[in-house]
């Protein structure tokens, strides 16, 4: 590889740090050292991270306000639950252990691709609009997806959404029990890390620079030869893929699925994470996703005040710090390491080092 030396170094540092982190998670998961409550928060945080970072792709980097992200998540969760159910019924990879893992991986890929396909279908008409119209139309598509899934007899109509059918799904479908959830922690963590790094490298690529230029000035970038529609739709579909993957994990996390709690409010919830963390900051999205998910769980008993406080904070944020907590700042491990090694010696190179 003819990667510059400092980039290689940075990649090594990051991979090492993440491996240690995942190793700890795997150890904790396999020894079942954590209570199922903590494990649940871990899963939800991972879902939140994937959702927030992928939504940030459209909202922060592409600069288009999309409010129907939960719709793609819904597609992901239902498709993967149904696929898993079908595989088990057909006897394909129906067992536990490695077969279950393989089934999960197939479901993740399938639901991601399906959500991406819908992302293209929704994106082509929706992204001809921008600003508030786009917000409304994506919201509309999200609602349509929800209503349609709810109306399909074998998806939302009965079976997956009804509490009575959930034990069946629990056994044969994707819904994991507490022990499995604990064992799969490392895998979910790994998927999250992979998703975030793919999104991150996507932003740093030529493609990412193109979408950032679209955000900053659409007309100027179109004049510079950037195919606006192509880039917009691709980014939108790309972020839908990750929403589908997050949905698939969501389906595994719960023993029953319900379209009711994945409507507009869920989209807003992830949207709040993006805004809190800073539109255009992956780090911010991750921090906000972990923070808000844990906070949500911790404040369960104050549930009705929770959204009230969120909305007030959101208003204040828009008045005093519209860029979000971290703005467009990105945390870089390599940068921190080189800073710790010797602030003076490396300070010149510091700015160029990218994680």
């Amino acid at each position: 590889m003819n990667m510059p030396k400092k980039n290689k170094q940075a990649a090594l540092i990051n991979i090492a740090a993440l491996s240690i982190l995942l190793g700890i998670v795997a150890y904790l998961g396999f020894t079942r050292a954590l209570s199922s409550y903590i494990v649940g928060i871990f899963w939800l945080s991972c879902i939140g991270i994937i959702m927030a970072t992928s939504l940030n792709l459209t909202n922060g980097f592409l600069g288009q306000m999309a409010l129907g992200h939960a719709g793609f998540m819904l597609i992901g969760s239902y498709s993967s639950a149904l696929l898993s159910l079908a595989m088990v019924r057909a006897g394909v990879l129906a067992g536990g252990g490695a077969q279950q893992l393989a089934r999960f991986i197939i479901c993740l890929i399938f639901s991601g691709l399906l959500a991406g396909l819908f992302g293209i279908l929704v994106g082509i008409p929706a992204l001809r609009l921008r600003g508030d119209y786009l917000a409304i139309i994506t919201l509309g598509f999200g609602e349509i997806i929800r209503v349609v899934i709810q109306g399909i007899p074998w998806a939302g109509g009965d079976g997956l959404s009804q509490g009575s059918a959930s034990p069946v799904l629990f056994k044969t479908g994707l819904g994991f029990n507490n022990a499995t959830k604990s064992h799969y922690m490392f895998f979910v963590g790994l998927v999250t890390v992979l998703c975030v790094s793919v999104i991150y490298t996507f932003i740093r690529s030529r493609f990412g620079r193109a979408i950032i230029s679209i955000r900053d000035d659409e007309i100027a970038s179109s004049a510079s030869g950037i195919d606006i529609t192509f880039y917009k739709v691709t980014t939108f579909a790309f972020s839908a893929v990750f929403a589908g993957i997050a949905g698939s994990i969501f389906a595994a996390c719960y023993s029953s699925l319900n379209t009711g709690n994945m409507g507009f409010m869920a989209s807003v919830n992830y949207f709040v994470m993006v805004v809190f963390g800073g539109m255009g900051s992956i780090t911010g999205s991750i921090v906000a996703a972990i923070g808000l998910t844990s906070l949500n769980e911790a404040l369960r008993s104050f549930d009705e005040y929770r959204m009230l406080v969120y909305s007030i904070v959101l208003i204040f944020m828009m008045i005093f710090r519209p860029a979000g907590l971290l703005g467009t700042y990105e945390f870089s491990l390599a940068k921190t390491v080189s800073y710790l090694r010797g602030p003076g010696a490396k300070s010149k190179k510091k700015k160029e080092v990218q994680a």
């Binding site: 600069g63 306000m65 008409p125 929706a126 001809r128 609009l129 600003g131 508030d132 119209y133 917000a135 409304i136 139309i137 919201l139 509309g140 598509f141 609602e143 349509i144 209503v147 349609v148 709810q150 109306g151 007309i219 507009f264 807003v268 949207f271 805004v275 539109m279 009705e304 005040y305 959204m307 009230l308 969120y310 909305s311 007030i312 959101l314 208003i315 828009m318 008045i319 519209p322």
Partner: protein, 292 residues
Amino acid sequence: MGSVYALVALGYTMVYGIIRLINFAHGDFIMVGGYTLIFTIPVMLGFGLPAWTAVAAAIIVASSVGVATEAVAYRPVRKHGTRMSALITAIAVSLFLENLAQVLYTSNPRVIKASIFKLPTFTFGTLKIDGTTLATIAIAVVTMVLLQLFIHNTKMGRAMRAVSEDKEASILMGINVNRTITATFAIGSALAAVAALMYCAQYPSVMPTMGSMLGLKAFVAAVLGGIGIMPGAMIGGLTIGLVESLAKAYSASLTRGIITSAFSDAVVFAILIVVLLVKPSGLLGKHTGEKV
């Protein structure tokens, strides 16, 4: 139902026309009006007045909430924020109002016990029309005519039209833009309160989230008619109401039960998508080019 949408759509259109902001909280102003009605109707009945007089209180409360929202949230953001942050603020205000109502009055629907209009059912040949329905339509028409007169014949109305056309130029002409925007919010929320009365006359129950779906559909109506255009909002509102009712009534029988009445929401949004794709400026809108 169409006339309710029409009134709410008018509020959306007025605010959008003047500050280019989708006021997500507009639907929640209806909810505010609805709760005010819950508390004032018994009082009015106690004074021996008919129930619909409670709308006066609802108008006052909803307008104050609208004006307060504008002053506290929208104005500071407008001053140094982008359009995106203004939109986020609107969503936040909507969340705030809904959750405040939830905290104050719980999420259970409350029922208005008194009937708002005591009218007989009218019969035209074989056609029977409920008195309440007729009253609703009548109120909507009267309100719209009054609004048209206000917009076209008063100084404030002229100022509103001027600001919506060109903000900077109207500042130069000595129009107090902030006061005009405040007035727009007051009128828009007052319309929402009237819509609340009409809604409650048809479906006498109030809950914190009643406004959100209603507001979204009214927004669709505003877009359908051409946002920023008042007659457009009326036409759009009536069309949406009609389409929704028809979708509810006939979708199940036409498609042999595959498409149920739950799909009527999807139908409304499908209309929005079609309108935005075919004619984004709406039925009565004019196409405006993009300035570089």
